[in-house]
Symmetry: C2
Subunit: 434 residues, 2 copies
Amino acid sequence: MNEISPITEAELSGSLDVTKPEALIAHLAKAGRAAQSVLAQMPSDARAQALRCAARKMREEAGAILAANANDVEAALANGLSKAMVDRLTLDGARLEGVAAAVEAVADLPDPVGVIIDKSERPNGLKLSRVRVPIGTIGIIYESRPNVTADAAALCVRAGNAAILRGGSEAAGSNRAILSAFTAGLAEGGVPKAAVQLVPTQDRAAVGAMLTASGLIDMIVPRGGKSLVARVQADARVPVLAHLDGVNHTYVHSQADPAMARAIAINAKMRRTGICGAMETLLIDVQFGDAAGLVSSLIEAGVEVRGDARALALGPQVKPATSEDWGTEYLDAILSVAMVDGLDDALAHIAEHSSAHTDAIITDDEAAAEAFLSQVDSAIVMHNASSQFADGGEFGLGAEIGIATGRLHARGPVALEGLTTYKWIVRGSGQARP
Amino acid sequence: MNEISPITEAELSGSLDVTKPEALIAHLAKAGRAAQSVLAQMPSDARAQALRCAARKMREEAGAILAANANDVEAALANGLSKAMVDRLTLDGARLEGVAAAVEAVADLPDPVGVIIDKSERPNGLKLSRVRVPIGTIGIIYESRPNVTADAAALCVRAGNAAILRGGSEAAGSNRAILSAFTAGLAEGGVPKAAVQLVPTQDRAAVGAMLTASGLIDMIVPRGGKSLVARVQADARVPVLAHLDGVNHTYVHSQADPAMARAIAINAKMRRTGICGAMETLLIDVQFGDAAGLVSSLIEAGVEVRGDARALALGPQVKPATSEDWGTEYLDAILSVAMVDGLDDALAHIAEHSSAHTDAIITDDEAAAEAFLSQVDSAIVMHNASSQFADGGEFGLGAEIGIATGRLHARGPVALEGLTTYKWIVRGSGQARP
């Protein structure tokens, strides 16, 4: 969720104070709201079936989708887009099949809508229950990744929400082709096409209109680079479900098993260096017996290690860390390493530098582990596991709309439940309040 | 929660772009965060006991508190404050005892912190659980009601949060005296005094600094009139738990019991006309047999009835409603009445005009009731009950921090659970992600 995407940031860099786009977004939102009220009343199976129709339609329309994508890619190459951007933009038969299969997987997820959170009966006989309902209309702002068009739409529809999608301009043709097939499938399944809409302009002001559409759009989910997310958060009047930094720590406690510490540290840093769950700082207890071995195994694995004064003593290849390193999300094969004097020192370092995404302890000491899990105030805290497990799929949530680094509404991996709210249902027999 | 409070609005009407206040708020937030990290690690009983100490201290300091309040009231009278404002500002022995008892009641509420929301075990052996934790630091912005100082502080502390309070200037002396006793009691109970702080200036810019203190204050709860709340929502960069309109409908279905309809309608409108749960619009089904009797009983109860064309025929005392009436929260003994052609017509009227706070149906037809409860998208939907039950206490939540009219994080009456978030705890045995 955390790739740097300069293009999308550039799209957001224009004036956000225009009136026409507001009329456009209001129009989309009104159509979406009408479709959502139909969607919200459909049985869960019908919503799931409509998503399966959408997946089938995308397969049937593969030719048109891939042709549109080829045009987008051609233009992107002509415009000198980066290799990484072009790769994220590019679809082929296998990738498109993956997108369709992902939509089917979302259809198979348990439906959060209608779930009774709790119920009670009051002394006066009133029967109360809190029941999950869709949030309403979700705005998704994302970069030039055509797969997000189907992924995000499927999650919103599964939870009974309308979606208003605003993708990166380089993928505009691909997105239109995917949405055309997707909504045709939804319609076959009885879901109004307006349940999922694409903002039909690349005018940056349309993004601003989405961000300020209070009462029209109920939640905005930005999916892209940090600057995009920060910009969305700064300008939004609508609640934002956002993901920012993943400055994740792994603390190797004095009682850590040396082999486990090596295996987890190498995995947490190197399995995939570019994901938000990657470890960025390793804290080694001065009482841990294998500090030098741990660091050299990381260096052998290809990690550039930047250490504090005491970590420099662990090996000649350790480079000195600067104060910036402790707050840096490298998203690369680079690791900052600090030696700490016990649990409290580790907790203090994490409290000062963590982005509260995912922090882990490696130890065989259960008491130390529980103290860490209790006292580290992060969205995800782990004991004897790799921080790279910080993922909705790994948590058993199915597809995720994102990982939230905020504290309200939803925290950590967010899937279908995070796309719902609740209402209070009160059943009486004529009660008047004394 | 919904009194008009011109004074507090005036306080917010200044420039919110100053730098000194930002340093002040940052200072308070840093102190609050440190205190909160202690508070969050205290056993639940210790937090509850500290609140009981705070209540006792307020009783012990009653003389000083009432003296400070008398000065505030004297100044308010000299400044020609409205009778209602002065009444809200005024404390006496009985009211102060009520405030102390309310703090003890909060201490007795079940603690949401540490509650396990759900747990699972993954095929790879990872054990996951979601556990409730405090949100962190809560900013409360309220009018000149000294009781809110203790109420809000108690709720925040019970759920392990730090509170930064900014009360109305007319109550500044009372608030200082209450907080001095309250925090002295907390300290006796082992809670750092900085867990609850008052903004020590009435400079309006301090409010602006609170609203933009992202990363320092985790949530803002405005408690006061609509204009205050709207202004807070417009300027806030920090998530806001807000209450706006309560344009509440009661739909009397064709199968409603006439006696029940009269009793509930009169209670919903007249028990207390100034609260957000009061009925503002009555929808009468044209098939309901006692429409004229229902309306005349409301008029006899002292209600000014403003009707649509068909409702005018129900009696000579019915005045014609204008289009504004359907969206108006009167908070007074005034009621708009529309005749509707069955359930769908009622649902359409509610969808167009409701503020999604509390809407009710009166009927003996269970199918109609369930259709209404399912299709009305409001925070609270009721069957055969008075909308005046829309209250945290009546819902069994104990004291409430407010009633939320937004859709995210918490909806409807919000008590302790709404002052918490959760974290994911992952317990492993050395798992690395493949």
